[in-house]
Symmetry: C2
Subunit: 317 residues, 2 copies
């Protein structure tokens, strides 16, 4: 499905394309020179090396129109996996079935334009800053999806660290007696605050976290206990971020923000409860630093579209 | 006790003075224009507002010689407490008996030179970078003293955060069933990795952590268990730092580095043990990122001396 938002104005003018290639669907969008979204396209992701390359190719073609009315000057791709930057090589992306794939180079040959590839959460952090329009701001973007990860932005510059691992806070253990994480540790933040972990515990259907919240609202004991544990996990992640970096804003994003204020409220409750027990925490007003990205902001795709342009040194490692 | 390292060369040339005002003793040093330490002075800290002002005044006078042979062009002071920057106002410094004291202004009136005041751990992080001579490096300085706190340096710039709280990782909880921390939370890193917490648990005399390590070396069960818990706490702090910021170097400093390789070895053991259980952690080679600052580096005083000079925006908040 392609939605052309302002087609007439972009015909003949090059756009920057950004893609958020998720485990099940791909969101693509085109930005004009002013950074406005001028077209969007959504499609199913076909996994595997050739599947992903085809998915990206089809999405770019859809955005550029059947006869190439619009030309892409650059393509940025956000991938849920570990990416080498600036080469754009995918070390591994388990949900997409990719391993050691030179994705940026392959796509450049296919598409004939410069291509950048970045981890999707890091791309989303860049996108969130662009959407907010505060270019020199410091924030941590906390992505709550199947897993838990963050994008750290200091004075407008994405922090990747030496190996692109910066922000992998989902694998910080906060409970030595906690659940075993697929990573091999116990009590990782992801085992309490990740949508995947909640789904495993709750069972349920297609939208397990939503079902668990609904059941908790109806007063079901197990759901209320699970929701409380989940909220405590997210609150622990937010506290950890503030105590390490003292950023003014922790921005929640990712699939779970579809819960809207129901998510925000339970996390704020947990942060306040902790503040009641600790004057020190209370003085930091951590709950007031929490913000939510609108569910359909397209931040990962927006960030991906910005990867190739005006990148600062730290963005490219 | 004043030790003039190179007196002849500095007479008549202004020096920058840095002081590390600790709970019991104060270390002061003078740097020449090239950043070399040209004189050192150590004295007992007198607590309380007038005591601290006198201590600083006497130390500066001692460094500058009985008849002011050497003149201080600036004075920087590292204080174990929460400091407002750039005003240099001490919000509180419990161990020094200070609260809401406009220390920088008072000292400027006393000494007649520009004075900067900063938290001692943040000053030490700046000092460590200067001593290492890598000005654009990213590192986290992890201070293990009575408490646990860190100084975060990104591309050579100290990160203070919006309220100077960046690096307060000692109050991140890593065990919901852990010991109650004076801050009101449970299982804070400081309750396992702080020298004060070890002293409380171990009992013992003047050097409880050293005694505990000695007893563990002799095979005493309680000491071995405590040492293991302590090492696990430090390892948890190091992992947390790497997973959040992916810095190439975590530099241990603070009073406990007097333990030397005995400290390093037990922490490295814990990091490796965790790596054996987790391919993900193993791939990060966290143990190889660990470095130790020499015990008598004077990093907090060196950093304090650099506070006033060539400060970059982020250093002054």
């Amino acid at each position: 499905m392609t939605r052309r938002l302002d087609g007439a104005t972009v015909v003949g003018r090059p756009v920057r394309v950004g893609l958020d290639v998720g485990g099940t669907k791909t969101e693509a969008l085109a930005l004009d020179a002013a950074g406005r979204v001028v077209a969007r396209h959504r499609c199913v992701t076909v996994p595997g090396p050739s599947g992903v390359v085809d998915t990206v190719g089809r999405a770019v073609a859809a955005l550029c129109g059947p006869s190439g009315e619009v030309s892409a000057e650059s393509v940025g791709v956000g991938i849920p996996g570990q990416i080498e930057v600036p080469s754009g090589r995918v070390r591994h992306a388990v949900n997409l079935g990719l391993r050691d794939l030179d994705l940026a180079r392959i796509l450049e040959r296919e598409l004939g334009v410069p291509v950048r590839v970045e981890n999707d959460v890091k791309a989303a952090a860049i996108g969130a800053c662009r959407i907010r329009g505060r270019e020199r701001e410091s924030l941590v973007y906390l992505n709550l999806g199947t897993g838990v990860a963050a994008g750290v932005v200091v004075d407008g510059v994405l922090q990747r660290g030496v190996g692109g691992v910066a922000g992998e806070i989902g694998h910080i253990s906060v409970d030595p007696r906690g659940e075993t994480c697929p990573c091999g540790q116990r009590g990782c933040l992801e085992t309490v605050a990740g949508g995947g972990a909640v789904a495993r515990r709750w069972g349920g259907g297609d939208l397990p976290v939503l079902e668990m919240f609904d059941a908790a609202d109806r007063g079901e004991g197990r759901a209320m206990r699970l929701r409380r544990e989940f909220a405590a996990g997210v609150a622990a992640a937010v506290r950890l971020i503030v105590l390490t970096l003292d950023v003014p804003t922790v921005l929640l994003g990712g699939g779970l923000v579809h819960l809207g204020d129901r998510l925000r409220d339970v996390v704020v409750d947990e942060l306040r409860r902790a503040g009641e027990a600790s004057d020190f925490l209370h003085s930091l007003r951590i709950d007031e630093r929490l913000e939510m990205l609108p569910p359909s902001s397209g931040a990962p795709a927006v960030g991906a579209a910005h990867l190739g342009v005006g990148m600062r040194r730290a963005d490219v490692g």
